[in-house]
Symmetry: C2
Subunit: 446 residues, 2 copies
């Protein structure tokens, strides 16, 4: 969205020139209008909103940034939200919207939806856990009976499809509404009209259970290159479908979450967020890092005699700490990513630690050897620092690799997001343990 | 894929029991057969392959892991690759496959494709840059003329669609093949048969140019919730389409790449990769970290008198270095993510640095104050360490925030991937600069 357009709209809103604003909006896609609204104040956005017809207003609302939408909805009475938006939305979008409200408002909004079938579907969908297929699915889909002929099917489909934006698959059920098959919409056009649905459909379609975790839904859609996936309940009845656009949002969100956790940001934060949010997202790990640093100073404090007699020991503190941090981050990142894309299972912990140890052994040997050569030239072979730094480095690399592997694996086993074990957690922990190893080895050797 | 199934297949292959293997495969989805092949040796995979019919073999091949596929294709003569796979593949998949081969093999494989139209399309597609819309698109799509009636259109579509797996949109062109409109396949069924195509279609469809960078294609598909997007050339002619499954792979790959760069892994590496690859992916940053650490020891070496007289100064080396690393990582991660999802533009550098400075000021004040209180209690207000640590911390947090913002912004401006400025790069640099600040401030104050 260009700056000029936004400025133009703001100006027109100030002049209360509804006609001109309407004219500007008429050719825009809902996603573009949403982008525009993200840049406006809630009051300005409200002005734009009241110019849109219901269908379009609903489409725009669901494309808006979550926080802008929240502010905006706070300005509107529940009745308007229900009648102007929820009645015109796909059920999965409506559920997403309702989940963002507090419970009192939820109840009130639901009671104002005029289309009883729509309201019933939404209430049913709200029962599912947000992180499962049931929580992400919608009920808009074309469903036909396996015993119908293709012409019957076509007729029925014309009715069902009237209200839907886009359709990719036709789902086939038996008389008890159990999912039996699927066929792409294209078959409706290319298949001879005499055929029965059951002869056209692909049997045993790929589907997910209402309780399937979202990560698994994402993997299934990605693996089989689907644009939508049917959702069934415990007795195999078709209860909804999940579309690829929702799944793509999930992929993006999860990747951003993992990245943020690995970078020491404790909540979802963007460049456009205000200073208060930016600060609170960063402070937790900075404070933990500070406590870690003070802890480190206490550990090192026990060895100040060592520093007084061997001041050169202090020179390698950054090297030992930094290497531990780097190695640990690498190991834990590989594990977290492997767990996220299912190429690694919790059952493989032992195997992964074994492999990691071999890699660590090679890296540790190489690095400590290089540093040994350097120190040999700088301080000579007899100096404590020469061998104690290299032995410590070796120990730190070995420890950090195994620790960086074990921690996320253990968290996964405990059903805690392993991504929290990356980034500052690993570097702070390895920093402290690295110092303990370094000091202990130095004292032992001198 | 379950271990038992894999073991069973391996056993059957050893016994050369083609019939039983075939029976096991018959109900599997191509993506599942590919997953199975990923677990087999190239020779075993070859045995499985020769049992599949051409269509299925092509589908399986494109779903395989890139490195497994490479090994496997090396076993096959170019003629077989052309006739058994490329002839049966979507053009975008065929291009992906051919790009993985070296140039000599590419030429030879292309010369063996029997379907001349297919070969021509592939050769044309290979001309586009891999990172643009042209490099990702395929030519399989249903195209109709704007002047046709819906029944004409239906007839033509039946022919075109016969060979295609799945169709979501129908693209409309004028007599000069310029893209004029689009309509979802559903309209084919719900629109009255008397209408002309031009009255059914949506005008000015969202499209991308052949030279549009892939990141922008991804953003467009995500923003408008499309399942496919048409690609046009410089004079607006429709030349191809990109489907959402390819885009989703891109989202996943890019997120993994950014994550790996931020974690100090210099190449794409997975838990299942062998030890050599694991080691080479990690060593570069570990060696750079080592050089950084040695550099740090040289800087600190100039101050060993300071450590001899004030051994307590050494205690805070980890705190100063660690805080600089943490702050820098946070700042650069926010910038990299903002640039990746286009919520931040290079032109906003000045604004972003300003905002970052305010956030840094709050964090710096808070952390240095807390550490000051701690040190006041531990060492007293008169000790050099008490104020020099806090002043240094303040300076380090301010510097690291601004540096962590400026570096990725500058890289983006220079068209270099800003993600390389995250992770070890930022922490090593901030570690060194932090030490210089700490030592300079200490010498100035004592």
């Amino acid at each position: 969205m260009e700056e000029e357009v936004i400025e133009k709209v703001k100006e027109l809103i100030e002049q209360k020139d509804s006609d001109m604003v309407k004219e500007l909006l008429i050719d825009l896609h809902p996603a573009d209008i949403a982008e525009l609204c993200n840049e406006l104040s809630p009051e300005e956005a409200r002005f734009v909103y009241l110019l849109l017809d219901n269908e379009l207003a609903a489409d725009v609302l669901i494309e808006m940034d979550e926080d802008v939408r929240k502010e905006f909805l706070d300005l509107l009475p529940p009745e308007i939200i229900a009648k102007r938006f929820l009645d015109y939305m796909d059920t999965d979008d409506a559920v997403e919207l309702i989940r963002e409200m507090d419970e009192d408002k939820q109840e009130e909004v639901l009671s104002h939806i005029e289309d009883i079938e729509q309201a019933g579907d939404i209430v049913d969908l709200l029962k599912y856990d947000e992180d499962t297929a049931g929580g992400l699915m919608g009920t808009e889909m074309v469903v036909v009976n396996e015993n119908w002929s293709m012409p019957e099917c076509l007729k029925e489909m014309r009715q069902q499809a009237e209200e839907m934006d886009e359709i990719y698959y036709v789902y086939v059920v038996d008389d008890d509404e159990r999912l039996k098959g699927v066929f792409p919409l294209k078959k409706m056009i290319t298949s001879p009209s005499v055929s029965k649905v059951r002869h056209v459909m692909k049997k045993d379609p790929i589907s997910v259970h209402v309780n399937t975790p979202i990560e698994e839904v994402v993997q299934t859609i990605e693996k089989y290159d689907l644009v939508a996936i049917p959702v069934v309940d415990s007795i195999g009845r078709l209860v909804g479908r999940i579309t690829v656009d929702d799944v793509m949002d999930e992929v993006r969100e999860q990747a951003e979450r993992d990245y943020q956790l690995a970078s020491g940001l404790s909540q979802d934060v963007e460049t456009h967020d205000n200073v208060a949010r930016q600060t609170t997202a960063r402070l937790p790990w900075l404070l933990i890092g500070m406590i870690g640093g003070i802890g480190n100073s206490m550990i090192l404090g026990n060895f100040d005699e060592t520093f007084a007699t061997h001041p050169e020991m202090a020179l390698y503190i950054p090297l030992i700490g930094g290497t531990g941090g780097n190695v640990g981050t690498q190991s834990s990142a590989i594990v977290v990513q492997g767990l996220a894309n299912s190429s690694l299972e919790v059952e493989e912990t032992f195997k992964q630690v074994g492999k990691e140890s071999v890699v660590a052994l090679i890296n540790a040997t190489l690095i400590s050897l290089l540093v040994y050569i350097y120190n040999f030239i700088r301080f000579g072979g007899a100096a404590t620092v020469t061998y104690s730094v290299s032995i410590s480095l070796f120990a730190v690399v070995m420890f950090a690799s195994i620790f960086g592997t074990l921690v996320p694996m253990t968290l996964e086993k405990m059903k805690i997001d392993p991504a929290i074990a990356t980034g500052p957690f690993i570097s702070i922990t390895n920093d402290i343990i690295g110092m303990m190893l370094y000091m202990s080895i130095t004292v032992l050797l001198s």
